[in-house]
Symmetry: C2
Subunit: 294 residues, 2 copies
């Protein structure tokens, strides 16, 4: 199967699963289902679930078991975007080409929609763990939980909102990125492999792959914020500069940044050499992320 076809197939099963996670019941709190689904089903790239499934597939064919866990990654990612866009945080009016959640539903509901999605991620994971049985599911879920907490995504967010004061070197920035976006990208891969029963050494190699992919991905984000168009990006361009954000381009030129993206991508691919041709889709995925336009 061609990479593009593989990717499309994965996105398709992820989208289908996500579409039925929040059942829109007729009850007094139904607005929360609408607010959650508004952001969850707005056509994200589904990169994290696809990474999860790609890592899982190296060791197991039983994708049906992996799907709930893969989708958790998107739920956590989406909740973080909803809260990130809030006026008290980045104050972004657009996301994925639409009004951000709080512009559409109001701040209070957007806060609760984010809370609901994080909560639903664990409801989904625990439910799947009960069906799955065995400890691999719990271990995978624990990896995910750690990556979205204060030693992961939230830790990165906290540094990011204090940006200018806290980030004075490219090393500071890389630390922040390793938490804010890196941790979840990493756990997508390591939790996928863990769920499928990979060995510690295999997980270690994949972890290294994911770390390099994560930083390359984030640098690309910083480049695209400057070079892309609003139409392609689905949100206002130049928002980092408008928010006085410290980014990779605070320390490096666009050309240097592009070279670093290539370097990290090559290193990511090298980490997979042990897996040979089995890792073809993860290799192509790393390349795809480097060449993306949004």
């Amino acid at each position: 199967m061609e990479f593009k076809e593989w990717f499309k197939e994965k996105v398709s099963i992820v989208d289908e699963y996500l579409g039925q996670i929040i059942e829109a019941k007729e009850n007094p709190q139904k607005i929360i289902y609408q607010a959650v689904n508004y952001s969850l089903l707005s056509g994200g790239k589904r990169l994290r679930p696809v990474l999860f499934l790609g890592a899982y597939e190296l060791f197991s064919d039983d994708l049906k078991k992996a799907l709930p866990f893969a989708c958790i990654m998107e739920m956590i990612h989406t909740y973080s975007l909803i809260h990130d866009d809030l006026p008290a945080m980045d104050n972004d009016d657009y996301r994925r080409g639409k009004l951000s959640n709080h512009k559409k539903f109001g701040e209070a509901r957007a806060i609760l929609a984010g809370d609901a999605l994080l909560n639903k991620a664990f409801e989904t994971g625990l439910d799947a763990a009960i069906n799955f049985k065995g400890m691999n599911a719990i271990k995978a879920l624990k990896l995910i939980a750690d990556s979205s907490g204060t030693e992961g995504m939230i830790g990165g967010q906290v540094i990011d909102i204090d940006g200018e004061n806290k980030i004075s070197s490219i090393e500071d920035l890389k630390y922040m990125y390793s938490l804010k976006t890196g941790a979840i990208i990493k756990s997508s891969v390591t939790a996928g492999a863990t769920l499928a029963g990979a060995t510690e050494n295999e997980i270690k190699l994949l972890e290294n792959y994911a770390e390099k992919v994560g930083i390359a991905f984030q640098i690309m984000d910083d480049i695209l914020d400057v070079t892309s168009t609003q139409e392609k990006l689905g949100k206002l361009i130049g928002s980092d500069a408008a928010n006085n954000k410290t980014t990779y381009l605070t320390f490096k030129s666009i050309d240097e940044a592009r070279k670093d993206v290539e370097k990290f991508t090559e290193e990511a691919i090298k980490s997979l050499s042990l897996f040979g041709n089995r890792a073809i889709y993860l290799i192509e995925l790393a390349k795809y992320l480097t060449s993306r336009e949004n």
Copy 2:
């Protein structure tokens, strides 16, 4: 052991455990540990963890195993208070006798501190489940997760912020309460019993107890908001009226409300009759909640 001594002992082990959940590491995101601990360690009543341990103790003496799960209840409760107090929500400046989290740390950090606490609750639970092994831990955790989501606490919050428009009868109000505060109180009891290996029938009886305790507790809250003092309550009194909140006293007089508290408390205690004298602390706990001043 006297009830008061039993209660004090439980609060003490809960406080000790909560005190070491968030390790204050020296790292760039350390402000988030401070923000979380500011609210988590501000001397709450610890009612939910004590309910958890009380239900657990009916079936098992191994309290050490139960403690992490009991503390999750307080973490989820505290996160909900932090988000509830935000300007976009109830806009409360005081909580437990201190400035609310966002008044102390700013809105962005308060949002993240709440997120961090919810996340940390699941980190803690999954970690304990890995140590605990066996499915009871996962099932208990699933009960908790369900109770804090859109079919539980968050669902109740969503209705509450829309109060006047959504709540036009005492039945509407009771539905909202059963989600907003009732669901977590219920899962404290049912998850405690589940973790300890109670039978389905035993859990059913305890669920009934917790439902009655939950509504009695919430009516008391509404009464205290009118009759207590700021000193005793640790937050501004009359805040429900100031926020145009629909409460139990919208539909009933204070005297009627007090009678309902007594009625629900009696019903709660009746549900425990099968357990005989073993349930003495849960019985006393229900009475204590009725006579509290804050």
